[in-house]
């Protein structure tokens, strides 16, 4: 179904990543990450000193019970949230040192999110949802200059995800598995260094979920770094490495 080789077009270069990074370097690394939330008068400690290192090209599954802090950790790794304490480094650079603009560029180009509930924009077509990250990174003039290339790439991604004939449909016209594949296409649009998947099969039946995992596996085989959060150990077994999170710590 998926021609994974063409999903990743090549290395991303830019100020956010070091050019001389080699295969054994860690693309993502956390040291002593703490995160707590306030729920009314109660302070909930979600992460209690997480140390994690992910090498380039790895497929890592983070497993843990509901409320163990898996999604929180993923959000922190993707700069959607900030830790209370500790260091999160991407390609050797501490995310806390990133400016707001750099963080936006980081989320746009370096990581791609796949959520449990797909999170597609209902007002946009499938094709538009896929090329949205590239459109969001361009000015009006810049977009007109590259729109053909963007649409072509989005079309290719959809074709490789088996959704060529769904390009002009709206998300609500698709099945759950199809929506999740659209979300994967969107996450891959800007050829990110890391794919962050938060329970990507959590809302799908077993067969459809396996299809999604096949896609992720094939992506990983061609070098895509993937971090997947799941509460299901059988799903986690499809990853190259499993990290268990319990009571806010990696065990």
């Amino acid at each position: 179904m998926v021609n994974a080789l063409s999903l990743r077009a090549g290395p991303v270069t830019g100020a956010l990543i070091s050019d001389n990074m080699n295969k054994d370097d860690f693309i993502l690394k956390t040291e002593g990450v703490y995160k707590s939330y306030r729920m009314g008068a109660t302070k909930v400690e979600v992460l209690k000193g997480v140390d994690l290192a992910v090498k380039k090209g790895e497929f890592v599954a983070i497993v843990g019970a509901s409320g163990s802090g898996k999604s929180t950790l993923l959000h922190i790794l993707g700069a959607l949230d900030k830790p209370n304490k500790g260091v999160v480094a991407f390609a050797g650079r501490d995310l806390s040192g990133f400016s707001a603009g750099e963080l936006n560029r980081f989320r746009n180009k370096m990581v791609g999110f796949v959520f449990q509930f797909y999170h597609l924009l209902d007002e946009l077509s499938v094709l538009e949802n896929v090329f949205l990250p590239m459109m969001a990174s361009k000015s009006l003039v810049g977009w007109f200059a590259c729109r053909r290339r963007a649409k072509s790439r989005a079309g290719e991604l959809l074709a490789q995800l088996g959704l060529r004939d769904r390009a002009n449909h709206k998300p609500y016209q698709l099945s759950g598995g199809e929506r999740q594949r659209v979300a994967i296409g969107r996450a891959l649009m800007n050829e990110p260094e890391v794919l962050l998947a938060d329970e990507p099969t959590g809302n799908l039946d077993s067969a459809t979920g396996n299809g999604i995992l096949d896609v992720l596996e094939k992506l990983n085989k061609v070098g895509q770094t993937i971090l997947m959060v799941t509460h299901d150990e059988r799903i986690a077994e499809r990853a190259g490495r499993i990290i268990t999170l319990a009571d806010g710590k990696i065990t």
């Binding site: 999110f113 999170h119 597609l120 924009l121 729109r147």
Partner: protein, 448 residues
């Protein structure tokens, strides 16, 4: 580009947006109609006052009048910026028909009809003598009789739609004008029993200035007759001099020049017998001279504008609430956009663009419907009058024929820009709050 696409899609796909568009359209419609009609009424009222008075008035409010006016008229006549000069006698009198069955207190204006037509729009207000103003005081039924021109509302009746019931010829009607002649010192000229000067005139024409107060209480008499009736003394006096400037003379410049001439004239007459009467004389533009009336109308317009500004504020709150609801519903989208690297400023721009489109579309709809309504406003009023005996503007107060319906581009631009600005302001707070929201909160499972 995604901001343009998303803003447009939000506008088209969200039904609640239609309420915001409708609120803006309604507000724009009402403000366009009211402002067009009120602006038209005020502009029409000012134009009529301007026509009634001329450009500038040198005059006194004292019924005694002022002397040496003829000398000043000569000075004005010689000036190249002056087109017309008309001295007038202004006073109050009692009008009674022969037999005394009708009596009414009126204002009298003694004029030279030709001069007064050169300085004001008097000639255009006549009906029978419009083409030959010099004969304004010559009744067509007997030119040898002493005529007078009477305010149209004192003479003619109106039909159910307030249209005047004109007659082909003026009826041969004798009227008596009685007033108290005053000396130069302001005393009654006639002591004893015969205090009053009375003179019989014959109705020669009616004057329709379009000003309710004027048309309902003014009688024009020949200048000399007015002088004989109201003013006594060896030195002739007048109440005012109405002046019209040449078209290339600006009002303010003309009035300033007349003011300078008057000051010089006053100094020259300082030693004269009745020089003290010149002290009460002022030089005013038509706007200043009719300020009391125009200000009332402008106040009415201002009150109306203020009332509808409040309505605009209400619309602003409707837009605010609608946007708050829309943006609250779109919190998931905001989270998604942030997860792909969209900045806070971009989020604000997206929803501001959405608000701009709502304002633009609402204004467009409001303008179009307003234009249609104004196009048919007089027909609508006729229909309302025929079926419900209802008039939007009581013609006994507003001396207007048709309701003004000419839209002014400047007013329209202000209204549209205000509506769009109200939408942008209404959307600003919810947009700002949305931009500040944390994506992890909006993307949580519990938020779905």
């Amino acid at each position: 580009m995604y901001k343009v696409i998303l803003a447009t899609r939000y506008l088209l796909k969200r039904r609640i947006t239609y309420f915001a568009v409708l609120a803006v359209a309604l507000c724009v419609f009402i403000v366009v109609v009211v402002m067009t009609v009120m602006t038209g009424l005020v502009s029409d009222f000012k134009q009529k006052n301007h026509s009634f008075v001329g450009d500038c008035v040198v005059g006194t409010k004292s019924l005694v009048g002022f002397a040496y006016y003829e000398d000043f008229v000569k000075i004005l006549d010689s000036k190249d910026f002056v087109e017309g000069v008309s001295p007038v006698i202004q006073s109050y009198a009692v009008l009674s028909t022969r037999g005394g069955d009708f009596k009414k207190g009126v204002e009298i204006l003694g004029i030279d009809p030709v001069r007064h037509s050169q300085a004001t729009g008097f000639g255009k207000t006549l009906y029978y003598r419009k083409d030959d103003v010099s004969k304004a005081f010559e009744p067509v039924y007997d030119p040898n009789l002493l005529g007078c021109v009477i305010g149209i509302d004192l003479v003619l009746l109106r039909d159910a739609k307030s249209a005047y019931l004109y007659e082909p010829r003026p009826s041969e009607t004798a009227i008596s004008i009685s007033c108290f002649p005053l000396t130069a010192k302001g005393a009654l000229a006639k002591a004893g029993a015969g205090l009053v000067n009375a003179q019989t005139f014959y109705f020669s024409d009616h004057s329709h200035s379009g000003l309710a107060r004027v048309d309902n209480s003014l009688v024009y008499l020949p200048f000399e007759q007015g002088q004989l009736l109201c003013m006594s003394g060896a030195i002739k006096r007048a109440s005012a001099i109405h002046i019209k400037f040449k078209p290339n003379t600006k009002l303010q410049d003309g009035c300033e020049k007349v003011g300078e001439l008057w000051q010089k004239f006053k100094q020259e007459k300082a030693g004269e017998q009745q020089a003290n009467l010149l002290d009460t004389v002022t030089v005013q533009s038509w706007k200043g001279y009719r300020r009391a009336y125009i200000a009332a109308m402008e106040m009415e317009q201002m009150v109306m504008s203020a009332m509808f500004a409040f309505e605009g504020i209400t619309t602003f709150f409707i837009v605010f609430v609608v946007f708050y609801m829309i943006i609250s519903h779109k919190s998931k989208d905001i989270g998604i956009l942030k997860s792909i690297g969209v900045s806070n400023v971009d989020i604000i721009e997206l929803f501001s663009g959405f608000a701009f489109l709502v304002g633009l579309l609402g204004s467009g709809v409001g303008l179009f419907v307003g234009w249609l309504f104004l196009l048919k406003i007089n027909r609508i009023e006729d229909w309302l009058f025929e079926h419900f005996n209802f008039q939007l503007w009581d013609r006994t107060i507003y001396t207007i024929g048709d309701i003004p319906s000419r839209m002014e581009l400047r007013v329209l631009i202000v209204i549209v820009l205000s509506a769009i600005a109200a939408c942008l302001v209404g959307a600003l707070v919810p947009s700002w709050q949305a931009a500040r929201s944390r994506p992890v909160e909006t993307l949580q499972v519990s938020q779905l």
